[in-house]
Structure formats: C-alpha cells, structure tokens
Symmetry: C2
Amino acid sequence: MNITEVARRAGVSRSTVSYALSGNRPVSDTTRARIQSVIDELGYRPNASARALANGRTRSLGLVFPPASSHYTDMQLEFIGSVAEAAAAAEHDVLLSASGDGDRALSRLVEERRVDGVIMMEIRLHDERVDYLLDAGFPFVTIGRIADPERTRWVDLDHSALTAACVRQLAGLGHRTIAFVNRSERLVRAGYESAHRGLDGFECAAQEHGVVTRAYRCDDDAAAGEALIERILAEQPRTTAIVTVNEAALGGLYRGLAKAGLSVPRDFSITGIAASRWAEAVTPQLTAADVPAHRMGLLAVDLLLELIENPDSPPRHVLLDQPVSLRASAGAAPAR
Amino acid sequence: MNITEVARRAGVSRSTVSYALSGNRPVSDTTRARIQSVIDELGYRPNASARALANGRTRSLGLVFPPASSHYTDMQLEFIGSVAEAAAAAEHDVLLSASGDGDRALSRLVEERRVDGVIMMEIRLHDERVDYLLDAGFPFVTIGRIADPERTRWVDLDHSALTAACVRQLAGLGHRTIAFVNRSERLVRAGYESAHRGLDGFECAAQEHGVVTRAYRCDDDAAAGEALIERILAEQPRTTAIVTVNEAALGGLYRGLAKAGLSVPRDFSITGIAASRWAEAVTPQLTAADVPAHRMGLLAVDLLLELIENPDSPPRHVLLDQPVSLRASAGAAPAR
DNA sequence: TTGAAAGCGCTACCAC
DNA sequence: GTGGTAGCGCTTTCAA
C-alpha cells in the first residue's frame, strides 16, 4: 500500500499524489478528489521512514531522562506526559531515551538521526551531555539549566527563589533553626542543578534572616526520610522547621516527626518544593511551591520546535517562578 | 557522513562497508580493519531512517499510555521506565504515544509504520484498540488483559487474586464489614480491567468469608479519598476495614480516617494494591500487594520482541501473582 | 496543472 | 572475499 499504488489507481503520477498530500503545489480539485477517494478506499498512509529519509526530518523529538536505577519522581512523570501530549499536538512523536551508561543512548539518537531535536531532563550544573549537543550543533532544550545558562535554551523553575521564599516564610513565623533536606548524596555529587540552586537559595535567605541552618542530603525514599529526622533532631535539637526539595522522602519525614512525638505544625514546621500530588497526600498537607511540571513540558516542546524550524534563532529560555501554596504544614515556631 | 563516503575513503564498495557493519557476510580482517578505522575517524553512524526503509524494521517499539487528562499513577511511571530500559538493552527505541482522541495516535504508529510493535497500558475489558490491532495483524502486547484473554499476548497482575488475598487476611483478623475503594467512576465505566477484576476478587472472597461489603469508586486524588471516608463511615458505620486499588487516593484515605478520629490499625485497617513507593510513604505503612511494575515492563518487552522476531509464534502471556507485603496498616478488628 | 526522474542512505541479491 | 546495483517509499526539481 504505497504511493505508487495510489498513483496507479488514481491514474496520476506519484508526484501528483505527493503534492496532493503535502499541498506544496497546486492540484486541481478534480484530481485531488480522485486521489483522495483512492486513499480513503485503500486506507493509505505514507510510510514514516521513507518520508523521514526523503526530507531529512523524522518528526520525532527525543526525551532524555535518567536511567531507571535512580528513583523516578512524580514530576518526571508529569513532564513525560506533557511532552508527549504537546508533541502529539504538533504531529510529532516522542522517542524515550533512558540515558545511562556513558550516554550511548543519547549519541544513538543524535548520530543516527533518529530525532530532530532533544529535550533533556535532570540537568547538572556541568553537564557533559549539554557540551556534547552543543559541539554536535544538534537542536536541544533542557528542563533545568547549566551553570552558564546563556549559551543554551531551557525552561527551569527558579529553585533558589523558591527555597528562599520558604525560608522567608518560616523566619516570619519565628523559626530560628531550620534544616534543609536535599536530594540524595549521589545526585548532589553529580551536580544536579535543582539540588544546588535550591540549597543556594536556602542558605542565602537564611543568612539574610539570621537563621541557623544545617543542610542534609537524603535518599529518594521514605525510609531515608524517616531516618534523617532522627539524625537532624540528634545533631541540632533546636531545629523547629525543615525546607525540603525531596518529594520522595516526604512521607518518611512526616513519619519520622510523628515517631519523635512532634506534631506538625504545632511542634515542627515543614515546607518545600514538590509535586502537588505529594504535597496533598501527606497530612497535614504540605505548604510548598508546586512544581508546574505540565507547563514546563509544554514550554520545552514549544522552544524545541521553534529551534528546529529556525536553527539560527537566538537562545531563548523561560525561568518560572511559582507561588508557595499555603497549606497546613507550616505554623508559628514553638516556644522552647 | 554516509556509507558512500566511508566506502570511498576505505577504498571499498558500499556493500562491503554494509556487510562489515552487519556481519551478514564474511569480510577479510584487513578490509574490516581499514573500514573500521575510517569509521572511527569520521565518527560514522548509519542513518536510522534509511536503515528502517531498507530493511522494513524501525527498531522501535510503541508504548501507548493514557492521555494526560487522566491522572497518571506511579505504576505507570515505573512501566515507562522499565520498558525504555528493556528496549534499550535490546537496541530498540521506545516511541511514546498518549492515545487519546479516538486513537489517531495509535493508528499513526501502526499505519505509518513508525514502530515494529506496540505495548499497550491501561487495558479495558472490551478494548477497541485491541480489536483494531488484531484486525490490522500488527504485533502487540498488553499490560493487562481483555475479557477474552486467549486471543492476545499480555502480562498482567492477578488483581482478583490480590484483592481476594486482602479480604482473606482482613477476615482472618476478625473484620466483618469491609469497604472496597476502587478507581474513579470514569475508569470503572470505561471498563478498566484492573478495576473490574479487583472488584470481582474482592466480592467473591467476601462472600466466601461471609463478610459484609460495599464498593465505592473514588477519583484518583487525595481530596477524593478524604471525602470518601466520610461517606463510608456515614453509610456503613460498622465498617472496620478498607481494601483499595486506588493508590493515588491513599494519602486522602489516611487523612480522612485521622479526621474521623480513627487510628490505623487500632480502630481501622486498610490494605490493598499499590506501588511500594506509596505504600511506604503513608504512616502507618500500608499492608499491600506491591505492583511489580518494573518486572511487568521487562516482560512486556520480551514478549513483544519475541513476537516481532517470530510473527507466527503462539500467543503467550504471563499472569503474575504477588504476595501481600505485611506492613503496619492492618490489625485485629476492634471490638464494637 | 501534471509527469518523469533523480535522489535520500542503506541493504541484500546477483555476479565474479 | 568483493563489487555492482536494484530496490525500500517518498519528496522535489526540472521540464512540459
């Protein structure tokens, strides 16, 4: 069921069928109608590989996300969904790539020309994948930004502004000793930008408000969160509040506090950055900046398609702020 | 940077380069080495579209998941990750497709031959997508199974066995009135197989144990779960336990119980089927059958690749059982 | 308004 | 062990 067959049955040439389909050349109404009826009858659809080969555009976008070994988070799921959705709306497919081992996966996408451009998640401050794509001159957009963000296109959440807002709020409530619960040791070491910028914002704001701080790293699961609370209370017993960017540990943090006999928000406050699903699942609900993952995914696709259309367009980026949703987990500092 | 250029520089014909790469014909060690050195020098990689066109295999798999409008769950994320991983291990790509509007997305994958086969999630008991693929004779595997499962290939969790196990356990602990918290009205109406088979298992086991039951549907979010508890306690005050398959509502169910002044598991027990991440996030941790999403994703890829290699192989499927992990949310029925 | 034909980059068959 | 070449199914230039 190919274009030759359609042309034969419609009594026209292959090129005419092609033009009737693409609209790149006028075709008389009668021939177009004849062609269309053959197409409908046969259920013809142009072959994607042939098309891609002929015009050098695959009409697919690569979505590079971290390997399964690391725990996935809810935001990641939201990104994936919204990227797929936005791409579909623009008649593009999304090719998933769990970039793991030395990024053979990424180079496969790029060098075998499987996609027209790439969206990368889980960006590091110094990210060799970004350097690679820059060198290769391959179109890409990152969700998150590298240390020197002017050279690239990205959409990012302003993590430092958000953690700073959390500190400001807690300071306003009278908290003087606040702990920061970051992502895992591994991710921080790897240089995850959200972890680093989140910490920066936290520390700057704390200094500004004269707050005593201590930063901890925490594996992305409930057990780690629970254990960490014990450690925090042992190392710095005056701690009355936490700011966290680790949504996967959230349930564990709550459990740890409960176990320590601390009631939230009466005895202890907790705020942070998280997917709203998690923020709303815990009791009391978490006062937090909700990651606008859906919006970020859509934006990333927009930026990428724009770049693919026009490879020489100047770097664009979007830095999203996000209000802290006041829920129930932050209250006045307890008198001690 | 194409095969012609490589051939020219190595002083051989294009076919020789092709064979050196594929190994489909012996090539002398010296020529192979010469070719390889040119390839390394140029960083040559065969173009995926051309390859797909020439040999009729795209080396990508389609992964069809529900549209973003419905809330995603953690299991879905795990599936996606493990499918991508397993596919990558077999040198295949994964093309995401959020099948929504009348499944134009699915027919695009199939009819434009964008993929060699399809994995479908979120199966309904009567699923028109399955009929479509069956008609089209297109290779596919489902995660979940239709009402008449013998005609297709699938990997599924034995939801009815698992909910039955939950009932059995609760009955053994003395509970006589148990509520079932299903997925949303919309999903149940649509005929989601896990929702229906889960309910069936629940009801059969309840009858067997002489337990009084009532089944509820619940939107996939915490707020709905919280509201539902109120309703359950109002409509059937003797209820002392819940079996749930709605992991997204879990946090809300817990909150609703707390609000009602019910302590888990002292006053009220709760068990179900959930991703372990959620089961472990709530306090007390949920006694539940953990969805082995990772394993299911790997199996689905295996089955699909097997089918693609050998289109005439007989239907295969895998029905997974899963032990109920005893955590802390189920206890003896309270004396009433 | 339409047709013929030259690619796109690769594979695999047919020769030698 | 190697080369020549005819496709794979489509797009687009050139010509009419």
